[in-house]
Amino acid sequence: MSRPGKITRLLIQSLFKKPATVNYPAKRSGMPEGFRGKLKFNPQMCIGCKMCMRDCPSGAIEIRKIGEKQFEAEVNLAKCIYCGQCVDSCLKHALEITAEFELAKLDPAQLKVILNVVNKDSLEE
């Protein structure tokens, strides 16, 4: 039978339940395993074939030679669409995707990150 206010019961029940939302950023629910966030680069494994660059849909990654058999990757976080295609395209498993997603920066220059052996910081980042 139809009647108005049928949802009222659910409303009252909800009053005594925990909120459905998370108090972000004080609390973080985290991202699931395998979430596609910021890239990680392993320079030791890279052979500089540039397959990742060729397949990247947004031109966000650049591999540069910095020495004999040494390469660094520059990723533009603003351009990257976090599709993980470069990871799939790399036959040497030099790229990896992490679940890190809070990548906004106030300074646009900081959106370009260089990942290489010397720059240990960004490797861990």
Binding site: M1, S2, R3, P4, G5, K6, I7, L10, L11, A20, M31, P32, E33, G34, F35, R36, R54, D55, C56, P57, S58, G59, N76, A78, K79, I81, Y82, C83, G84, Q85, D88, I97, P108
Partner: protein, 412 residues
């Protein structure tokens, strides 16, 4: 002097900001009193040039662009496109890949229909419904993020199969989430059938008769609520649908209430489909290796998106990039029927009537035809000319993008 009580028709432009959804398109409404006597719709405010951009990208790159046509049925577009490419290249994907595409497709339908239910609630002033449906929708969004790595642009398809497999643990998670969602959907069905205000607000609103729906070629839930049993999943099965058991939900009420019931019914079918996929999914590999170059040829592919039939046409020329890509989003097929639904109805019904076809105007904008009235006939304009014309047009309006362009180049 005119008698003030003699109403003349009043014309009101509505848009280019949507009265219901946050998308750009405009309607011209002719009103007599509160009643709409005529209406016309104008699209073309959000042309993104995606088809053209696809010609400049390889198939792999294009797939990610195609996926971004729609922020809700992203998997629909990418599957539709990749099916066409695979047909041209003569690639037969593995059974497991087919099942995985079906799984994501149905989860996407669940999230899309729940989203619609919330939007519909909002349009009729039933915001409580919006809050609860969108809360429950998070369950399926989280599930999609777990399975694919993203909430919206799943990036699961690739030419020759899918990119991610499903683990045993994930299967359990899917079943658990589906149980929760099914219970919630049952509640919403109960609510839709038992809440007087909702029934009274939606019944007899936005009527599209069976004949009109046939004549105007409505698709998806819009057609099925007018008694047309049209569903690509049944009529021309793709992916794993040929091996799965499901009903095409249709009702004969021809109004917005019917469209609500169809979508709720489809949710229940989707739950059953997801369970079948999890039960039946065969073992094996998920990807068939394919060449980067696609041989010359053309193909049309159809896909039943949550909003109706999606259609992609791809022409290959033997290189790594397509020669032509054409996309017909479901909204383009449904938009014609909106004018019919609005005819002789109250202005206040307009938002919910438009929202009831579950439109996606930005996805629909494919082509803008500018008629040259002075020199009759047609002529072809090349890409570069249009670009320069655009820059010139803005310059004449006093807007110069040169400095902005420089800044952008510096950024990249």
């Amino acid at each position: 002097m005119h008698d003030v009580h003699d109403f003349e028709d009043v014309k009101i432009p509505i848009g280019p900001q949507h009265p219901a959804l946050k998308e750009p398109e405009s309607f011209l409404i002719s009103l007599r009193g509160e009643k709409i006597t005529a209406s016309s719709v104008r699209l073309g405010y959000n042309h993104r040039g995606i088809e053209k951009a696809c010609e400049e990208r390889t198939y792999t790159q294009g797939l990610y662009l195609i996926e971004r046509i729609c922020g809700i049925c992203s998997h629909s577009h990418s599957t539709c496109f990749v099916q066409a490419v695979e047909e041209i290249a003569g690639i037969e994907i593995t059974a497991r890949a087919k099942y995985l595409r079906t799984l994501i497709g149905e989860l996407e339908r669940i999230h899309s229909h729940l989203l619609w239910l919330g939007v519909a609630g909002h349009e009729i002033g039933f915001d409580t419904l919006l809050m609860y449906t969108w809360r429950d929708r998070e369950v399926v969004m989280d599930l999609l993020a777990t399975l694919t790595g993203n909430r919206v642009n799943y990036g699961i398809n690739t030419v020759g199969g899918v990119r991610r497999d499903i683990s045993h643990k994930q299967k359990e998670e899917v079943l658990k989430a589906i149980d929760i969602l099914e219970e919630r959907t049952k509640y919403y069905i109960d609510l839709a059938k038992g809440e007087t205000t909702l029934i009274k607000r939606l019944q007899g609103v936005g009527v599209l008769s069976h004949e009109d729906a046939e004549k105007l070629d409505a698709v998806g839930p819009t057609a099925r609520a007018s008694g047309i049993e049209r569903d690509v999943r049944k009529d021309d099965p793709y992916a794993a649908y040929g091996e799965l058991d499901f009903k095409v939900i249709s009702v004969n009420s021809c109004d917005v209430y019917g469209r609500t019931l169809v979508r709720l019914g489809e949710l229940m079918e989707s739950f059953s489909l997801v369970r079948q996929v999890i039960r039946k999914i065969p073992d094996g590999s998920i990807l068939v290796k394919s060449a980067r170059k696609v041989p010359a040829g053309e193909a049309v592919s159809r896909y039943e998106a949550p909003r109706g039939e999606d259609l992609h046409y791809v022409r290959a020329n033997g290189t790594e990039k397509p020669d032509r890509v054409k996309v017909r989003a479901p909204t383009l097929a449904n938009i014609q029927s909106v004018s019919k639904m609005l005819e002789d109805r109250y202005l206040a019904d307009m938002p919910i009537v438009i929202a009831a076809i579950d439109p996606c105007f930005s996805c629909t904008d494919r082509l803008v035809a500018v008629r040259d009235t002075k020199n009759k006939g047609s002529n072809t304009v090349v890409w570069e000319t249009i670009r320069l014309q655009g820059i010139e047009w803005y310059k004449n309006k006093g807007i110069d993008f040169t400095s902005l362009n420089e800044k952008l180049t510096k950024l990249s």
